[in-house]
Assembly symmetry: C2
Homo-oligomer: 293 residues x 2
């Protein structure tokens, strides 16, 4: 019996060491780019100018004698996939370059509200919608970056401003149509959860038919950043990712075009990361019982 | 003796489980922002226009009836902390939006060459300098993003174009002075190592007195990206970080302003991450010996 126990012990330990080593590898997290490409003609909110891209060099230059490409860009800070800094709507609040760096990254939460929208192009996401998500996936983690997937980006971004903004009159903000966050849901987030940013696959955090920008006016003064025109939310899992919303660092900016991306730990999101430890603990317990017999 | 062995076994297993749990926590990586703030008057390479920032709204707007800030920017793609896409100097090579996303992140390597520069403001970093670093810290890992710390950024960026560019004639590229990478070192990297990008705390990858842009012409056609005007390299460790060089996604761009940052795993960089596993293995071995006695 002593030899048998010893064998069990040795096997368990070797198994534990093996699993410990397996569990430690942090290779190959999956990267998801949540950013649209900036190009002439992309949708912009009616109060901002169109994005401009000017080719300066594209060929062999006389000055350098070598092939050279270079271009210049003109745009509002609120162009393409971008971040709204609190100062956008709140006097004295953080401007873009004052946002603490750690506020630009957090656990990713993707809330799919496509089924709720029905035929209301100005659907306002409600506190109930957020609570429904929590019932399925658990409480929104502290420091989270929330992404609301309305399906707008997937359906309409590539079709251009009229489709995406919901109006042919792309210079009249009062005619916009797209889903957004109901002010009551913004207030619920501010009052009940610790959220760093809320992202949208639409042109605005406020529903298209809002004329008061109430959701902006609730989130931003509370240092909840807003991300607009977020891309590819169909690739983002509901939980198990870390979002990085990385704006260019515009001094005194009210916002900035950003590279927004998520790192998905496939082992974490699939619940695999903790498995080796669990197996090890269970095996250890079995071994302790065997030894005690 | 049986009871004693059993006690040793139980303690070892509990110890192992505890260390396993400790070793698994992935909390609080340290974030280092390697990006300069974009503001009027920042240094730009003489062939590009000055950065422009125009305040459009800063106060209560008549249209919305609420406080609003918004601004517009004009710049070359090669402004501030930015990335050069291969197409910048190589016809048919990746433009900015064609760079595979995974090519924008990799193990961070910080090579401090400040002591080599002496009084040569156009010091070209040599293959020997890179090999000296490897002798101290080990082989440059595959997929690395190399950062060359010349000290130029720390000393001169905030002082403005004349100090940083090494000339009062900030519109004449032939008068530039700053250290860079010797073409032979660029060729050594391309031939001998698997590097995704090389970053500089200067205005250019080429030394200031270069008129042929040879280092650009070696790195870019080989899909080795270039990062220029990288900030705060004094905060980056030689090894143990992951760099993210995140450009805004300019369609057909030859480059783009970027948010460049490093995530330092303090446990990894201090060699602590693997310690729990090591302790567990050593303890297990001791236990096996004790059992076998």
């Amino acid at each position: 019996m002593a030899a048998q126990r010893r064998t069990v012990t040795v096997i368990t330990i070797l198994f534990g060491v093996l699993l410990g080593c397996l569990g430690r590898s942090d290779d190959d997290p999956r990267l998801i780019d949540l950013t649209w490409t900036l190009k002439i003609g992309i949708p912009v909110h009616p109060i901002y100018p169109n994005y401009t891209f000017t080719i300066i060099n594209r060929g062999v230059t006389g000055a350098l004698g070598v092939y050279l490409e270079s271009n210049e860009i003109y745009m509002s800070e609120h162009t393409g996939t971008h971040i709204d800094a609190p100062a956008h709507f709140a006097q004295g609040a953080w401007r873009l370059d004052q946002i603490p760096f750690g506020h630009l990254t957090g656990p990713g939460v993707m809330i799919d509200v496509r089924d709720k929208i029905g035929d209301n192009p100005d659907y306002p996401v409600t506190p109930q919608d957020l609570q429904d998500w929590e019932r399925e996936y658990g409480r929104i983690p502290d420091g989270a970056i929330l992404m609301l997937r309305t399906g707008w980006g997937e359906q309409f971004w590539e079709e251009g401003p009229a489709a995406y903004l919901g109006t042919d009159h792309t210079r009249n903000a009062s005619l916009l149509h797209s889903p957004g966050l109901h002010p009551a849901a913004a207030q619920w987030i501010v009052d009940n959860r610790d959220v760093k940013a809320v992202g949208f696959d639409t042109i605005s955090a406020d529903p298209g038919d809002s004329t008061t920008y109430e959701t902006h006016l609730i989130l931003l003064p509370n240092n909840v950043l807003i991300l607009e025109n977020v891309a590819h939310l169909d690739e983002m899992p509901p939980t198990g990712s870390t979002v990085y919303a990385m704006p260019i660092k515009i001094g005194d900016g009210s916002g900035a075009p950003s590279r927004v991306f998520a790192i998905v730990d496939d082992r974490t999101s699939a619940g695999v990361t903790t498995t080796p430890n669990l197996i090890f603990i269970v095996t250890s317990v079995i071994m302790i019982i065997l030894q005690a017999l």
